[in-house]
């Protein structure tokens, strides 16, 4: 096992890793920017090193600073947390070259999975389903019609150079395909000076479900079941839960097995997540692999009883997994609410500032992962997550009841938070019934239609 680990991150996840290190009897070095000077979690580390100024690009994202801090404080491993440098394969490789073990996947696997085309190639090899679409670019109407009939309507016409919904069209039949094809090409030509388009199956109100993976350096790869992360606003997750509600067990089983095949094909170890979109017929399609620990990992820790961060550290130290696939059980229902310093009444504007009151919920079934305390100043420089409120109960309906209770006990003053929107979500019958998809928040709370691109 390692003697001392440096945590190249901040906030909630830095504290989470400090705790895992303490549990393992491993020493901890924290790093911080001048914006985080005096932050509460730093006092819990054995040593804290200032690595730069407030902007992340000048501190937490600055590779030489973290490596210099790691070398000078004599650590033998580095935990990158999530965000910042966590999925930077070059950084991982550089750490290892400096004899500092990067607590994460092999850098080669990170590099392959970080490249969309390469990741799709591996998925195809591992027989993991991808969103059906044209193999390459489409240049004629006839070709578009042929591909659309083959993959089945509705289809999405996407500009090759596109992004942010521009140059995207949904077509539900031959007629709208022809019209959409022309206008998407023109729009793409005007916006990007490149009129190339391709076609993809359009998934209506898909769910976002991901599978947690754990692999060691001895070839063992297992899954720890799924998390449903469909409740999102502008691709920012708000609520995550396990098990995914109303998911046929056959689908769950197939997805989990597919994720394990993919990890094996990529030569992956450490913790990781395989993300899928699931359509209304419960067909699932691979999107990407997140080669890091994720924000929502405690949801899985609650249902499986396995400490993922502790396992990550043990795996990096070369230990074998102590359990097999058959030992991992999904017990009860766990839900997480992300409490962000944002104002839901004001278009989710970030709300930095000093927390004047912090009265946290507790009691049976509640876990709160947070770095915040009363008097803590939320700096404007970083992401707005201030707490992860989790509940774990034998059934989903009990979990919802406990979450309602916990949200009602949570008093935060001085900053605006997402607590009120969570209270709304947990009293919305569609959510309580498990009728969730990625368009839920916009549809139910902001009265928007399913926000089809190009409409």
């Amino acid at each position: 096992m390692f003697q001392r680990v440096l945590i190249a991150n901040r906030g909630e996840i830095a504290l989470r890793v400090i705790r895992a290190c303490r549990d393992l009897g491993v020493g901890v070095v924290a790093v911080y920017s001048t914006a985080d000077r005096g932050a509460p979690w730093l006092a819990l580390a054995d040593e804290a090193v200032c690595i730069g100024s407030g902007p992340a690009s000048e501190s937490y994202l600055k590779v030489p600073r973290s490596i210099a801090a790691a070398e000078k404080t004599n650590v033998d491993a580095l935990h990158p947390g999530y965000g910042f440098l966590s999925e930077n394969a070059d950084f991982a490789e550089m750490c290892r070259e400096c004899n500092i073990e990067f607590i994460g996947p092999p850098h080669d696997a990170m590099r392959k999975l970080g490249n969309k085309n390469e990741a799709k190639k591996i998925a195809r090899q591992a027989k993991v389903p991808l969103v059906p679409g044209s193999e390459g670019l489409i240049s004629t109407e006839d070709e578009a019609l042929k591909v659309a009939r083959q993959i089945g309507y509705p289809v999405l016409i996407k500009a090759a150079a596109g992004g942010g919904g521009r140059g995207m069209r949904v077509a539900r039949n031959d007629h709208s395909l022809v019209a959409g094809f022309q206008s998407a090409r023109q729009e793409a030509e005007a916006a990007f000076k490149d009129g190339s388009v391709f076609l993809e199956k359009y998934l209506e109100q898909p769910r976002h479900i991901e599978v947690q993976l754990l692999g060691d350096q001895h070839g063992n790869v297992i899954h720890l079941f799924e998390r449903d992360c469909s409740l999102q606003r502008r691709h920012q997750k708000l609520v995550e839960e396990s098990p995914a509600p109303n998911l046929p067990s056959r689908t769950r089983d197939d997805m989990c097995k597919a994720a394990v095949r993919l990890a094996r094909a990529a030569g992956y170890y450490s913790a990781g997540t395989c993300e899928f979109l699931v359509d209304r017929q419960n067909n699932f399609y691979f999107i990407e692999v997140n080669s890091r620990i994720q924000v929502e990992h405690p949801v899985t820790e609650l249902v499986t009883g396995i400490d993922l961060v502790r396992e990550q550290i043990k795996i990096a130290a070369g230990e074998k997994l102590k359990f097999r696939q058959g030992d991992v059980v999904q017990r009860g229902s766990a839900i997480e609410c992300r409490i962000n310093a944002e104002d839901p009444a004001n278009n989710f504007q970030p709300s930095a500032g000093t927390i004047t009151r912090w009265q946290a919920p507790g009691g049976p079934g509640v876990r709160l992962d947070t770095h915040a305390v009363a008097g803590y100043r939320v700096p404007p420089n970083y992401d707005s997550l201030v707490a992860k409120l989790l509940v774990h109960q034998p059934t989903r309906s009990e979990a919802i009841a406990v979450m309602r209770r916990a949200l009602g006990e949570f008093f935060i003053e001085g900053i605006k938070t997402t607590v009120p929107i969570h209270q709304k979500i947990f009293s919305t019958s569609a959510f309580v019934d498990g009728q969730v998809d990625t368009t839920f928040i916009e549809r139910v709370f902001f009265g928007q239609s399913t926000a089809e691109p190009g409409k």
């Binding site: 001048t34 200032c50 730069g52 100024s53 030489p64 600073r65």
Partner: protein, 162 residues
Amino acid sequence: MADNKQPPPGPFDVRTVRELVELMDKFDLSEVDLNDGGQRIRLRRGGRLVAATPALLTTPALATAVPSTNSQPAPPPSAPARKLLEIKSELVGTFYAKPAPDKEDYVKVGSRVSPDTVVCKVEAMKIFNDITAKCAGTIAEVCVQNGQFVEFDQVLFRVEPS
């Protein structure tokens, strides 16, 4: 780049150098080499760490300035006590007070410094980075010891402003 109220800075003006260093940092350049007639300015960064070549940058007026022997000059009687300036570490690494083990320290208490005077080196990832004073005055205090680990923003020297 040039302020309207000031004459345009020459290539070896401290302001120019500072701006170049900032640009290098902003665009992540590792080396800048400029020639202007017989004069040359060359700036290099190791990794992302800034290292100016000081010998070429020192203007004669500053280089020949007589070092003050009075390490604690009395503040002007009319003004309140002047605050000491701080020279802080721009990096994380090991502090070296001298260019080589058998050489004298770059500066001591009482040494006069100008903004481009090298006051020490900080080694990070086997790269020795020159730290310049970035202010003018007299060294009043050396806050760290040779070979000590320093972090970003740590005070290395205190300077009595001139």
